[in-house]
Amino acid sequence: MTTASDTEPAPPLVLTPYLFLLPAMLVTLAVVLWPVAETVWMSLHNFILFKPRNVPFIGLGNFWRLLHDEVFWLSLGHSLVWISLVVGLQFLLGLATALLLNQSFWWRSLARSLVIIPWALPSVIIGLTWTWMYDYNVGVLNDVFLRFGLIDKPVAWLAQPNSAFFSIVVALIWQGFPFFAVTILAGLQTISAELYEAADIDGATRFQRLRFITLPAIADVIATALLLRTIWVANSLDVILVMTGGGPGYSTYTLPLYAFLKAYSGMEFGYGSALAIMLTLLLLLVVFIYVRRAARELDQ
């Protein structure tokens, strides 16, 4: 990449910017970089919290164990389905919302504010309200579905392996689609009206306008939002933890949840660390693509 600073002589080594960066660097070093190095160290040891004096080095033993761990493969599979369903549907619903909000009508600014609300809520609340709505005995969803004849008897949504997974997916879609909606809306608002006027003169249909003007113009925004969201969803475990804790059985285990539970409930910090590193390695490609796109901003 050619930048302005490449063509100019190398900047003199002044201390000021480094001094300004020092506090942020120190905090980051203490709470992020050091812990990550620790995780790598722990992943190479058989580190169990209540046996602090007996931490044998086992090399890649934890990773070897992981390859033969059925729950790991199960969680990985769930994670892949989970990411594609949640991100994909969040995106489609977000895109539809953005296209609707990009038109002019009298309650537009109200609608925009209301749609954003799920984004502001903590995962514990998302878990709570959806668990309450999915309730078997007096839950509102069973009531609504019964009234509309979609089911003939109440369903224990979160207690059955098949429905539990998809019930959480719905809750996560609810939480995340406002992000797509507002991001894509911001992109839509940068498209110049002249493009649409020209298309009108050429007699383009509304579908053609969407296909040949709108979507190409926001392709960049969409790509960035998709990458960012994929990383977030892949890392997120708190809503699942709150709603089912991974159960029933292993039916709602995802990779980050498994890593967390191994360390938190199982006290197997070594193995949990190996799982966390595995997740990071698998995500690295997505992070790399995102960072390269975002880094284009650095040289302005």
């Binding site: 900047p11 002044v14 000021t16 910017p17 300004f20 960066l21 506090p23 942020a24 905090v27 980051t28 709470v31 992020v32 812990p35 990550v36 995780t39 722990m42 919302t97 909000l101 609608a111 209301l114 609300i117 799920p118 984004w119 502001a120 809520l121 903590p122 995962s123 514990v124 609340i125 878990g127 709570l128 309200t129 959806w130 309450w132 007096v138 839950g139 509102v140 609810w174 406002p178 991001t183 992109g187 940068t190 009206a193 009108d200 890392n235 709150v242 980050p256 890593a259 910090f269 966390a276 590193i277 997740l279 990071t280 992070v287 960072v291 975002a294 880094a295 901003e297 650095l298 040289d299």
Partner: protein
């Protein structure tokens, strides 16, 4: 853009679908708040009683009088404020360096702050727990605030750099010609202009920290329990007392929703400034 659709067409293609989406977005939230002001009889009624026979504030009284929730609210407020202060105070100078200086390692350091924001929490939280335990910061305000700075610092640096880049450099230079020092430029020129961005970033950190669950759960115990951790414990403890649980949920959600609505426009423009540059 001209809209040649008839009012009926607009009703079916715009107003109704959007109304459905708004109801979907709002429904669970409103349902939680509604439940919190219903009596236990109305909550336990089947088929579901949508409009209750009477409204009550008993669950809020029970929550604040019989449980430690009031104290949890104070803890969360202290932690979120602390995370906000720590995040902004170390990020403001860092953002100034990134925006106004060209120096060796700039690109690497900026990328680093971007990448650590993408790290899975599980990668950091396990050793952070061990670290905090070893230096005796488990179950303290400082410990959780430091835990929250793992996301607050990188996020603020990116937001503030992006807001700062929008301030013309001529302003700094004019002040320098008048003899201002670097710190004076930062304090007298940049700070007033960036104030709205600073407030937006601060509120976002506050909301994220207030909402955060995993760090708060791992790093806290009896002393500094936050609202999210407390609510999760209540779910186990008062499993069928939905009135009490939704009252707690409402008290947690209401302030952050209002804060979020207050800054949402500027927040989105900051978050998307990289992606949506024409």
């Amino acid at each position: 853009m001209m809209d040649r659709r008839s009012p009926l067409q607009r009703l079916f293609e715009l107003h109704l679908p959007l109304l459905v989406i708004v109801l979907f977005a709002l429904g669970p939230y409103v349902w939680m708040m509604m439940t919190s002001i219903k009596t236990n009889t109305d909550i336990g009624a089947w088929p579901v009683r949508y409009w209750p026979q009477a409204f009550t504030s008993e669950h809020y009284h029970a929550l604040l009088e019989r449980t430690s929730f009031g104290g949890n609210l104070v803890n969360s407020f202290i932690i979120a404020t602390g995370a906000c202060m720590l995040g902004l105070s170390v990020s403001l100078p860092a953002a100034y360096a990134f925006s106004r200086y060209r120096f060796r390692g700039r690109r690497l350091l900026m990328t680093q702050f971007l990448v650590i924001n993408m790290f899975p929490i599980v990668l950091i939280i396990i050793p952070l727990f061990v670290l905090m335990r070893n230096i005796g910061l488990l179950d303290t305000f400082i410990g959780i605030i430091l835990g929250h700075s793992t996301f607050a610092v990188p996020f603020s640096i990116w937001m503030l750099t992006s807001y700062m880049n929008a301030i013309p450099k001529d302003l700094d230079e004019a002040a320098r010609i008048d003899g201002a020092t670097t710190l004076e430029v930062l304090r007298l020129i940049i700070l007033p202009v960036i104030m709205p961005g600073l407030v937006t970033t601060g509120i976002y950190i506050f909301v994220t920290s207030w909402n955060e669950y995993l760090f708060a759960m791992m790093l806290s115990g009896q002393n500094v329990r936050t609202v999210t951790v407390a609510l999760q414990l209540f779910i186990g403890e008062f499993s069928v007392q939905w009135g009490l649980l939704t009252a707690a949920g409402t008290l947690i959600a209401l302030p952050v929703t209002l804060l979020f609505l207050l800054v949402q426009k500027r927040l989105v423009s900051g978050l998307t400034s990289g992606a949506v540059k024409s």
